[in-house]
């Protein structure tokens, strides 16, 4: 690969010791920076031949520790594979290398009136390869779906160094949907080296409003009513008072300090549809005691509303020295209950929790605020894990878009039975029998999580009296 593409100096390797979840750090033995897909494949072949574990890495913005290196392993950075290989406006798709940023796909498509729909908050820097690994969402996935709904084909280097294509030009399938299994597999079954994505036509119009409410529950009712009216908004986001305070301190986006809840609702589509439904949304807000209704009058005002929302994570640093971000999902109808429970749990632990979330799809992002210098770390970490597991208890999921990674791997037995996890392990083994591909992520191992198999809960068959544990 050439010495210029290899980092072995431990001091320089340290730059790769963690991803966006900075609590987990492991310095890799070696970092490889291949320039071509062929170099990725040959690097993997060398790892396979010598039994060296490897971890693929994009921009390192992931929030679940999915790109944390393995001790005595290799990091394969895809940052130098950053060519947009093709933009095909006729067939509305683009072919890109994995190191291309999410936003650069849209920039390449924009001259044709097209864009790439999934828009994670980190879209300026996160890479499409990382998006594929995590099945990234974003604020607009309520209407447009997730990465998996926008990837047509993947060229993949498997753990033995062989190269295969999953999916095809149309997303039509020849056999079981392996592309769909690969998307969201968190780098544990191979490395994507070439990605074909769908492009959508830019909507004719976009209408955005920011509405304040006297309670989070009240704002939640508005969301339910919008949905019940048969409206599919492009995005529905909610922030609570603490999150607003942080975001305003950082970016002065025009949110109301002190309001208990603010909703961002965005509609897009053909003018006739959008205008009529936007009036309906405004009426629903007003009928539910909205205390302030701000309509973004132009693109600049719209950008300001989104700046406030998207800044919230980072801005929390202004009101707390340290924090954890959670990513659990609850059924939308249980949002108010989830938030009440989280508030009570925070009060009991003596830890503040700010809430920013994708209200339309029930994806919470509780920000657990703490001060490590005051010895609050362990208490906050415990609360953070309990919040994720609460989401499972309420019929939801540990993660909506950040992934399991290293962070939530030991919580997986809360959501899945030992049999479920064993079947996932069998599928992982079908792609990577050697287990060299990003080991220790996504599926719990006794080494990481102790021998505890997780909390006992009856298997459905056990509950039905079909089987019994002896």
């Amino acid at each position: 690969m050439g010495a210029e593409n290899v980092v072995s100096d431990p001091a320089r390797c340290r730059a790769y010791e963690c991803d966006g979840l900075t609590g987990y750090r492991v310095v890799p033995e070696l970092v490889l920076l291949p320039q071509t897909a062929e170099q990725v494949a040959s690097a993997v072949r060398v790892c396979a031949a010598r039994g060296v574990p490897f971890v693929a890495r994009g921009a390192g913005t992931g929030l679940s520790g999915g790109a944390v290196p393995v001790a005595e392993g290799v990091v394969i950075s895809l940052q130098r594979l950053r060519r947009v290989l093709e933009v095909d406006p006729v067939n509305r798709r683009a072919v890109v290398e994995p190191g291309v940023t999410n936003l650069d796909i849209t920039k390449a498509a924009a001259p044709f009136g097209l864009y790439y729909a999934p828009d994670p908050s980190s879209q300026q820097v996160c890479t499409i390869g990382g998006n594929v690994a995590e099945n990234s969402g974003g604020a607009h996935c309520l209407k447009y779906g997730f990465t998996t709904n926008h990837v047509l084909a993947l060229e993949v280097v498997l753990a033995d160094g062989s190269v295969v294509t999953l999916g095809g030009d149309t997303g039509e399938q020849t056999g079981p949907d392996l592309r769909g299994v690969f998307v969201g597999s968190e780098g544990t079954v191979g490395i994507a080296t070439r990605i074909t994505v769908k492009l959508l036509r830019t909507p004719e119009t976009v209408r955005t409003l920011l509405a304040d409410f006297p309670s989070v529950a009240g704002a939640g009712e508005v969301v339910s009513e919008i949905v019940a009216a048969g409206i599919v908004p492009a995005a529905v986001e909610m922030m609570d008072a603490l999150a607003i305070e942080a975001a305003e301190a950082a970016v002065h986006a025009g949110y109301t300090i002190g309001t208990p809840a603010a909703l961002v609702v965005e509609l897009d589509g053909p003018v006739e549809e959008c205008d009529g439904q936007f009036e309906q949304v405004k009426a629903i807000c007003e009928a539910h005691g909205c205390t302030r209704l701000h309509i973004a009058g132009d693109a600049e005002e719209r950008a300001a509303v989104w700046r406030g929302r998207k800044a919230a994570f980072a801005a929390v640093g202004r009101i707390s020295p340290d924090y954890f971000v959670q990513d659990g999902v609850v059924p939308r109808t249980r949002l108010a209950e989830a938030l009440d429970r989280i508030a009570a749990m925070g009060a009991e632990a003596g830890i503040r929790v700010a809430n920013v979330f994708h209200a339309g799809d029930g994806n919470l992002h509780p920000l657990v605020l703490f001060d490590a210098d005051k010895g609050e770390h362990d208490r906050a970490e415990k609360l953070s894990g309990e919040i994720a597991e609460l989401c499972v208890e309420l019929g939801g999921s540990l993660s909506g878009e950040h992934g399991i990674g290293t962070d939530k791997v030991c919580s997986m037995p809360k959501q899945f039975t030992p049999e479920d996890l064993a079947v996932m392990g069998r599928v992982r083994g079908a792609f990577d029998p050697s287990g060299l591909c990003n080991p220790g992520k996504l599926l719990p191992t006794p080494r990481m999580c102790g021998e505890r198999p997780g909390e006992y809960r009856p298997h459905p068959l056990e509950a039905a009296g079909v089987i019994e544990r002896l």
Partner: protein
């Protein structure tokens, strides 16, 4: 089928489905409503797992826009339960009207014209509980639309043709039923259709379906009562054509999925996918007796003489496309699939880890595996 009696089991719930899987030795065919004979011809089996009694809606949460069903539930029955709530599963595959089951539609990776906007069931299934050949019960996904915990094993079911697992429970995301639907038909030759399609797709009108069939291009819009007429008028202004009743889609469905009474039709039907821009040229090369072509999705259904199927696979493959036999006349011994994909070793490895003894759906992926 073998000459000896083949036992048929009709499980009714998860427990009896697992029992049935363990009770039958040897090779097993999983069947649904029998609305398609898709993929490779089934080899002789020792038993049939008939899923039609695995039927019924388990949950419907209108506020969450999710529903779960037993996998043998006909999609149209689910649709009837959802409709009073103004909700639907956004899949309009041709077989739905003939009683196709949710599990069968997943197993065949079927989709209809509105795949242009909503995708196929791969995009709408959010959770599943299955029984593997060794009796293991496994579930993946869940009851929330947004969920990245664990591998998305529901995707493996999509297009599995009964070869990996018995689907028992399926969780689906729902969409609202639009207030109004409008269809505009534009008379045009196949060769001219893609020009119209390009203009429409670059317009802001957001059609949900765009299909050429029987000498005309059909475009479907969904929207609100107050907006739909204005949008349809804009479409007519853009392409010409006239508003039609939605019944015109029934003829399309027959060309794709066969006659409403299920009576056999003449010729073999091939489902093809290729880059939309290559579709007109590709279709011109095939000895088609009937065609529907989605110039937005790249998916076409082509009826042709049985003896033309083998060559057709190769022509499609050469164009970079995919093809599968979706309806096989009795006299047709042509292979169901074209040349194997590069990922065949992975498909084989997945098959052998989930069904090591090769019990389920033997022959469906012949000649690949």
């Amino acid at each position: 089928m073998t000459g000896t009696a083949v036992s048929t089991l009709r499980p009714t719930d998860l427990a009896s489905a697992r029992d049935a899987m363990l009770a039958v030795p040897g090779r097993v065919a999983i069947t649904g409503a029998g609305t398609a004979d898709w993929a490779g011809r089934l080899e002789p089996v020792d038993a049939v797992l008939d899923t039609t009694a695995l039927s019924g809606v388990l949950t419907h949460n209108p506020g969450d826009m999710t529903a779960s069903v037993l996998a043998g539930t006909p999609l149209r029955e689910l649709a009837e339960e959802l409709a009073p709530h103004g909700q639907r599963v956004a899949l309009d595959a041709a077989r739905v009207a003939r009683g196709a089951t949710v599990g069968g539609l997943i197993a065949t990776a079927d989709s209809g014209p509105s795949a242009l906007a909503y995708g196929s069931l791969r995009d709408l299934v959010i959770g599943a509980t299955v029984v593997l050949a060794d009796g293991t019960v496994a579930h993946s996904g869940g009851h929330v639309i947004k969920n990245v915990a664990g591998y998305d094993l529901t995707k493996l079911l999509q297009g599995s043709h009964g070869t990996l697992a018995l689907m028992v429970e399926i969780v689906l995301r729902l969409h609202p039923i639009p207030e109004r639907v409008a269809t505009v038909a534009v008379q045009c030759a196949l060769a001219d259709a893609s020009t119209h399609v390009q203009r429409l797709l670059m317009s802001p009108l957001e059609p949900v379906a765009l299909e050429w069939a029987d000498g005309r291009l059909l475009a479907r819009l969904e929207g609100t009562a107050e907006a739909i007429d204005a949008r349809a008028a804009r479409l007519v202004e853009l392409l010409g054509g006239t508003r039609m009743d939605d019944e015109v889609w029934q003829r399309h469905a027959e060309l794709v999925g066969g006659r409403p009474d299920g009576a056999p039709t003449k010729g073999a039907r091939l489902r093809i996918g290729c880059l939309p821009s290559r579709l007109p040229g590709l279709l011109a090369e095939l000895p088609a007796t009937a065609v529907t072509a989605g110039f937005g999705t790249g998916i076409a259904t082509v009826t042709m003489p049985s003896d033309a199927v083998d060559a057709a696979h190769k022509i499609v493959y050469a164009a970079g496309g995919t093809s599968v036999l979706r309806d096989r006349p009795r006299d047709c011994d042509a292979p169901a699939w074209g040349p194997a994909p590069s990922a065949l070793p992975v498909l084989r490895a997945v098959k052998s880890t989930l069904d090591p003894d090769g019990r389920l759906g033997p022959g469906r992926f012949a000649p690949w595996m």
